[in-house]
Subunit: 189 residues, 2 copies
């Protein structure tokens, strides 16, 4: 996919990567980030998130000139009009994207040139939980399966080590497998 | 936002909703769903998920004529070129979308007509974890904050009860707060 040009490997500037790691080691306070999303209900199962600002490295990031907008929905069988992927599908995408990017970064750091990273994810859900029909099934996926196919200029064993390391470092894999404390506030006026 | 027309409340067909709940009570095997995403690395932090097929109510769903495509990326400070929201931001969106849809459905079932549902979400992360600089901070968000502003034709107390019930039934809220078992397989050819 990507030629190695100077310090670029797998599309990642490794010189910048190692400089970033050195900087954060020297000044750990720069590692405090805050990401954000704003969501607005439109109609039925249709709602939209706007994503732009974040706090990083000691200040508000100003690199994004435009916001990203993401539409969520539900298919007809779940009472929507299919205005976008549903929230559980977005969670699968978040997990796939994070594992993939972490694989690419870990490979770049380990001098592995990747040629392809593909994955398929499945999430099994008994919707009686989320629909409130039965308290026994949990609301979310009972399990998630991730199948990677990864190729590059390294032996299979080394590619597997890259994936293993990515599991140990992926932000979303950590959150999805271990959970995160969530505080919900409500204003009604 | 949405007028009440016949059985439509908050854009949700409540007649269809109650019929669905009755059907699943009678035939719980129809509640087994599987959602899916396929992801492909493009370059650097840029990867793309394709979301279309899912299994529902005893068979493969055929209602979607086209796939949804979602691009992920990272901002420059995290070594990307901002080709899309980053994976952790997608997770915030998944959580916002699921809580919002669950609020809208619960309100529809309880005869509450909503006029607005807005939320802002924040996720605090010490990126030393995910970057592999330090083993102490976790990789993912240390905490997520969700602030809802919700209005409708019900007293504040009832609107708060709707949000509370949504927390008890949201699929993504369950997954993000409690975690999900994730099995990762790797093929290298």
């Amino acid at each position: 996919m990507t030629a190695v040009t100077g310090t670029i490997r797998n599309g990642v500037n490794t010189e910048q990567m190692f400089a970033t790691l050195d900087l954060i080691k020297a000044r750990p306070e720069l590692a405090q980030f805050q990401f954000r999303a704003s969501n607005r209900w439109i109609d039925g199962a249709h709602n939209r998130s706007t994503i732009k600002s974040f706090y990083a490295a000691g200040g508000e990031d100003a690199s994004r000139s435009e916001a990203f907008e993401l539409d969520a929905g539900e298919p007809a069988i779940l009472l929507g009009t299919d205005t976008g992927p549903n929230p559980a599908e977005y969670l699968l995408h978040a997990l796939a994207a994070c594992l993939t990017t972490t694989i690419v970064y870990v490979a770049a750091a380990r001098k592995v040139e990747l040629t392809s990273v593909e994955s398929t994810l499945t999430g099994d859900m008994d919707v009686r939980g989320a629909l409130g029909v039965d308290d026994e099934p949990r609301n979310g996926f009972e399990r998630i399966g991730v199948s990677f196919r990864i190729t590059g200029n390294a032996p299979a064993e080394k590619l597997r080590e890259v994936v293993e390391r990515a599991k140990q470092r992926s932000a979303v894999y950590d959150m999805v497998t271990n959970g995160v404390p969530v505080a919900v506030q409500v204003a009604t006026d």
